[in-house]
């Protein structure tokens, strides 16, 4: 195959993979909603477990919502490569003539579309529920928009590393959470700052830099790890 | 400086000595433990090689 032909065929596989993953999620419609439901449930546990007081909830809101988003993203990673690994599809992906990193990126993108995006859309409602002011909600959505893709990308590396391991689920959290923590800290502090009327550009730049870094590195790292896991 | 003064560490004895104590125990253990590990590996391997030898003799018979 000539080079441009090769590229267009890789693009074809890229799109086919995204389409297939979305179709799979659609077939599991009830599970499509699951990370979202988990997100909602975790957030609602706090007024129950801690206290329904308005002042306290408002203080806790940015942190709690972000922790919930983080946990939801982390737990939904399970659907990222696991089933492909178990039924041998991943082997076939590694054997395909296309760049593995591109295929991995396709999978990460469709994962973000079905987990990250619903969380972003749901966040304002939960913000209101936790008495967050409008400024805070806007900052929350911005940080989620920049942060959730990072969670999917970094999570993909962790997932790829722990894939071959029996019951690697919890090892995954050990690997991935430390890398998630910077995202959490910066995002929550951005929301806090915006509520106090401060400037949040610094935090947003940091999140943006993380996003760019992880978009360039994560597919490669994940593809490498997948190769190891398949072996 | 008297010994008791020295051990008293100007009132910070708990903090200082527990730091030094922890360092001693932890680093000591990290230094010593490979000796035991190596011994057990050698024991294990000796057994394995002996078993292999026996297997080979059985096969050739």
């Amino acid at each position: 195959m000539s080079a441009p032909e090769q590229i267009s065929s890789t693009m074809g596989a890229f799109i086919a993979l995204i389409k297939r993953d979305l179709m799979l999620s659609y077939r599991h419609r009830n599970e499509l909603l699951n990370p979202l439901l988990f997100f909602v449930i975790v957030v609602t546990l706090f007024p129950l477990g801690v206290s329904p007081e308005k002042q306290l909830l408002q203080t806790m809101a940015p942190g709690v919502i972000w922790v919930a988003a983080l946990l939801a993203a982390m737990l939904s990673l399970d659907t990222l490569f696991k089933s492909d690994y178990e039924d041998g599809t991943l082997e076939q992906m590694m054997l395909s003539p296309h760049s593995n990193a591109v295929l991995v990126l396709a999978k990460i993108i469709s994962h973000w579309l079905v987990t990250g995006v619903p969380i972003i859309l749901m966040a304002p409602l939960l913000g209101l529920f936790m008495f967050l002011p409008w400024d805070g909600i806007a900052a929350l959505m911005l940080t989620l928009l920049l942060g959730t893709p990072v969670l999917s990308l970094v999570g993909a590396i962790g997932m790829a590393l722990t894939l071959g391991l029996n019951r690697g689920g919890m090892l995954l959290s050990l690997l991935v959470l430390p890398l998630y923590i910077p995202v959490l800290i910066f995002s929550a502090s951005a929301v806090d700052a915006s509520m106090a009327g401060l400037d949040i550009n610094g935090q947003l730049y940091f999140l943006g830099a993380l996003l760019v870094l992880s978009i360039t590195l994560a597919p490669l790292a994940a593809a490498t790890s997948l190769k190891i896991s398949v072996e | 400086m008297s010994p008791s003064e020295f051990f008293h560490m100007g009132g910070y004895a708990v903090y200082v000595w527990s730091s030094y104590g922890l360092a001693l125990v932890l680093l000591g253990w990290v230094l010593i433990s490979p000796v035991f590990t190596k011994k057990s590996i050698i024991k294990e391997l000796k057994m394995k090689y002996r078993q292999q030898e026996r297997q080979r003799q059985e096969d050739s018979r």
């Binding site: 086919a16 039924d87 992906m93 398949v230 | -």
Partner: protein
């Protein structure tokens, strides 16, 4: 291509799994129009060898060459010409047979969607195209995976126990296909504990773990 370097070349391959030596110094050259049957008792290393040939595992020593180049250097070219089917069938249970094959096709780089229904018909799944694969029997699932053989233009087929769960009709159909493939200058590496009868081509047999190689017929 029929020059000296054509085909798949194993150069003094050794393999160890879990501190157990499986085979050492295996040398073999598979040329277009040839078939290789890998045989051996359970646990003799057939699957391990096939995965090394497909580039899914690294040999302890030695190297695998495709058209004279290491497979990890000519990845794209080798993988365009390779079709590997292992113990696991790479079939998504939630998708229908057609959707599964569509995906497999675009992973392997061929784009056209026609031919899929034809292939399913060939493997005897007429009437099962639109059912989620979860609802197929063990043998039917294998057939979906094997339908790829009717779709691919890959030259080198590596098949690990393709007859698993298949009934006699399906086995006969596969054997006809293999014969055709070899006649057309394809290559085939196959393992099976059932007898294999191919009508044509040059056939070799490799018995593990002795790495004894012999030519059949």
């Amino acid at each position: 291509m029929t020059d000296a370097a054509a085909g798949l070349h194993l150069k003094s391959i050794s393999c160890t799994r879990g501190y157990r030596d499986l085979f050492t110094g295996l040398d073999f050259r598979l040329c277009p129009g040839q078939a290789l049957r890998v045989e051996g008792k359970n646990g003799s290393g057939k699957t391990s060898l096939l995965r090394i040939m497909a580039g899914l595992a690294q040999p302890l020593e030695g190297e695998v060459l495709w058209q004279g180049r290491k497979i990890h250097h000519s990845e794209s070219d080798y993988f365009q010409n390779l079709l590997f089917l292992g113990h696991r069938a790479a079939i998504k249970f939630e998708l229908t047979a057609i959707e599964n094959l569509c995906m497999a096709k675009s992973l392997h780089g061929s784009k056209s969607e026609n031919g899929i229904e034809e292939a399913l018909y060939q493997v005897g799944l007429y009437g099962f195209e639109e059912i989620p694969c979860a609802q197929l029997s063990a043998g039917q699932k294998r057939r979906v995976a094997l339908a790829q053989l009717f779709l691919t233009r890959a030259k080198c087929w590596i098949l690990d126990e393709p007859y698993t769960s298949l009934d006699v009709n399906a086995v006969a159909m596969l054997e006809k296909l293999f014969t055709q493939h070899i006649d057309n200058g394809g290559m085939l590496v196959i393992t099976s504990h059932q007898p294999i009868t191919l009508q044509a081509g040059e056939q070799h047999r490799l018995v593990l773990p002795k790495t004894r190689l012999e030519r059949l017929e």
